[in-house]
Symmetry: none
DNA sequence: TATGAATGAGAATTCATTCAT
DNA sequence: GATGAATGAATTCTCATTCAT
C-alpha cells in the first residue's frame, strides 16, 4: 500500500494551500505598507509570485482579500494572547505582564498597527461585515477582570475599575505611540523609535497603569 | 449663528481669499472622510463649488493641498491650546483641565483624528517636508511641565514625571478610543460613541492620569 | 498586394505579438503625423484598434513608446542599408548609388523624416537614453570610406575626404529638401514635391556630390 | 512750445511697443526652446513679465503669435542678407562668402533652426496663411544667379547650375548639421558642436560647393 | 492699458477586474 | 489550477482662453 497516493491525495491541495498562504502574506505586507486604498492588487500578485487571476480565484476581490488579511491578523494576536497565563501571577505582576505583552506585541508587529489604522480610517467597513471576528473573542478582558478582582480582594487594587476601559487604555498607550510616531517625530523633532526611547515608553506606560490601579 | 452660510457651498465669485478658504474647507472635509488616497480632487472641487482647475491654480497639486490642510488643522488646535490657562489653576485642577480639553477637542474634531491617522499611515510623508509645522510649537508641553513641577513642590504629585511622555499618554488615551472606535465596536459589539460611553471614557482617563500623578 | 489588410486596424485578439506590432505601427503613424508633443495616446489606441490600457501594458508610457518607435525606425533603415553592396561597383557608380539610395529612402519614408525632426526638436531626449541605438551602427560610413579610398587609389577621387562629413552632407541634401519643403514651398511659392521636381533634385544632389569628389 | 507733449504724444504708445516687443522676444525664446506644441502661453507671459491677458490683447492667440514670431524671424534673416554685397566680389569669393554667411547665421541663430523645424513639422500650417512672408523675398537667389552667371562667363564655373537648387543645397548643408546634431551625436557618439568640429564643417561645405561649381 | 480670477475640454496614466485558453 | 491578454471607468493634472474689474 503506497501511502502517498491512496491514503492522502493532498499534494495538489497542499500546493493550493501554499499558494493561498503566499497570497495572504503578500497581501498583508502590501496593505500594511500602503494601506487599503494605496495597496495594489498587481503588486500583491507579484509579491506572491502568482498570476493575478489566481488571487481573484481564491479571494474574490480586493475588499474580501483585505478582510481576510484583517481576520488572520486578529487570529495571530488572539493566538499570542492565549499564551499569557496571568492567573499564575500575583495581581501586580499580572498587570505588569499584560502591559509588557501588549507593548511588545505592538512593537514586534507594525503591520498590525498599520492594518488596524487603515481599517479604522474606513470606519471598519470590512470588519463590520465579518462574522468570524465576533467569534474570535479576546480572552484578555476576562483575564484582566479576574486579575483586577483578585487584586481588589487582596486590598492592593482600587475598586471599580472597568476592565474594558483599562484594556482599551493599555492598548491606547501602546498603539498610539507607535502608530502616530511619524507625526509626533515631525512635531517634536525627535526620533521616538530608538531602543532607549522604546524602553522608556514601556516603563512610563507600566508606571501609569500600576500607579492608577494600585491603591 | 446664522444658518444661511453653512449648507450651500460658497460660490467663488472673484474673491480669491474666500475661494481659497472654500477649497481648503472642502479639502479638509473630503480628506477627513476618505483619507488621502481615497480623497478625490474632483469631489473637493465640487464641494467647494469651484472649477477643478482653480484648485491646482491655488494649491499646486493633491499632495500640497493635503499638506496645507494638515498645517491648517494643526494651526487650529494650536490656537485652541492658547486659550488654556493652566497656570491659573491648582495643579490637580490644571491636570484635570488639560485632560478634559484634550478629550473634548478630539471629540469635537473628528477630522483632526482622521487626518492625522491618514498622514501617519503615509509615514508623515507630507509633514516631513513642512517647515511651518516645526514653527507651530505646542505650548502644552511647557504648560504641563510647569504644572507638574508645581504639584511636585506642593508635595501632591510624584517626582520624575516626563511631561512629554505624559502629554503623549493623554493624547493616546483620547485619540485611540475615538480613532479605533470602529474596530473596537466591531469586536466588542458595543457602541462606544453613545454620550454615556463618552462621559465614562473621560472619567476613566481622568482617573487614570490623576491616579498616576497624585501621590 | 492584397488590399484586405491595409485599411482596417488589425483587431488584437489574444495574439500578443500582433497586438504589439499594431500598437507600434499606429504609434509610428501618429507621431509621424503630429510629432511627439502633438501625438495623442488616445488616437494611437484607436488606430491600433485596442484599448488604451493595453498600450501602457506593453510599452510603459508615451515616452517609452516613442523611443521604441524611433528605435524600430532606425532598425528599418539599417536593414535597408544592409542591402546596398557598394563594394561590387566602381567608385563613381558606388557614390551615385549611395546618393540615390539615400534620396529614395527619404522620399519613400516621410515618417522617418518627421520622426527624426521631432526628436531633434526635443534635443534627442529619448534617443540619448537608448542603449540599442548605439549598437545599431550604420555600415554606410565604413562602406563609404572604402569607396572613397578605392576611388582615390584609382586617381579618380580627390584625397582627404572625410567619409563622416560626406555622409552627413548627402543626408543633409536629401533630408532638408523634404523636411523643409513646406516652408520652402511657402516662400518660393512653388511645389517642391512634384515628380519632376523630385527627379531634378536627385540629379542636382548627384552632380553636387560627384562634382566634389571627382578630380 | 514743449515738444514733448504736443508734438509727439508717444510715451504711452512707446510703452505699448516695448511691451509688444517683450512679448515677441519671450515667445520666440519659448517656442525655440520647446517648439510650438511644447511652448506654453503661461511661460511666455512670465518670460515677458506681463499679464497673460495682454498677450491675447496684442496677438490674438497662440497660433497667431507663433506666426508673428516666424515672420519676425524671417524678417531678421532677410535684413542680414541685405548686408551681403556679393556683387563686389569675384565669383569664387562671392560663393565662399555666401556659404560662410549662411553657415554663420545658422550657428548664431539656433532659434531660427528650431522655429523652422517646428513649423515644418506642422507642414507650415502657420506660414501658409501668411501674406507677409511672400512679400519678404530673399535677395539671395537673385544675387546667387548673378554670381553664377558671372563665373560662367569668366569660364570659371560650370554652366547650367540652378541657383534655387544650389541655394537650397547650401541651406541644407548648414541647417541639417545643426538641426539634427542631437540625433547625429547620439548615433556617432561624438560631439558635433565643438568649435573645432564647427570649423571643419564650414570648411567641408565650402569645399563641396566650390568643388561642384568650379570647373 | 492692464490684471487676477476663473473655466471647459482634454491630456496622460492608473486601477480593479474579467476574458479566453 | 493556472495564465497572459484585454478592458472600462476613473483619476490626477494641464492648457489655451475668457471673464470681471
Amino acid at each position: 500500500m503506497t501511502a502517498s497516493k491512496s491514503a492522502t491525495p493532498i499534494p495538489a491541495s497542499r500546493d493550493a494551500e501554499r499558494t493561498q498562504a503566499a497570497i495572504l502574506k503578500a497581501a498583508r505586507d502590501e496593505f500594511a505598507e500602503h494601506g487599503f486604498a494605496g495597496g495594489r492588487v498587481d503588486r500583491i500578485a507579484q509579491r506572491a509570485g502568482i498570476n493575478k487571476r489566481l488571487l481573484y480565484y481564491y479571494y474574490g476581490n480586493k475588499d474580501d482579500l483585505f478582510l481576510t488579511v484583517l481576520e488572520s491578523t486578529y487570529g495571530d494576536i488572539r493566538a499570542a494572547e492565549q499564551m499569557l497565563h496571568l492567573d499564575m501571577l500575583d495581581p501586580v505582576d499580572a498587570l505588569r505582564q499584560l502591559v509588557s505583552f501588549t507593548w511588545n506585541y505592538h512593537v514586534d508587529h507594525p503591520e498590525f498597527i498599520s492594518l488596524l489604522g487603515s481599517e479604522n480610517l474606513l470606519r471598519a467597513s470590512h470588519l463590520k461585515e465579518s462574522k468570524k471576528i465576533l467569534e474570535m473573542n479576546s480572552p484578555l478582558i476576562q483575564m484582566l477582570d479576574t486579575v483586577l478582582e483578585r487584586g481588589r480582594r487582596q486590598g492592593i487594587f482600587r475598586a471599580g475599575i472597568d476592565p474594558v476601559q483599562l484594556y482599551i487604555s493599555i492598548a491606547s498607550l501602546c498603539f498610539f505611540y507607535l502608530s502616530n510616531n511619524y507625526t509626533l517625530s515631525a512635531i517634536f523633532g525627535r526620533n521616538l523609535l530608538m531602543p532607549k526611547a522604546l524602553a522608556e515608553r514601556l516603563s512610563h506606560i507600566t508606571d501609569l497603569v500600576l500607579g492608577y490601579a494600585i491603591l
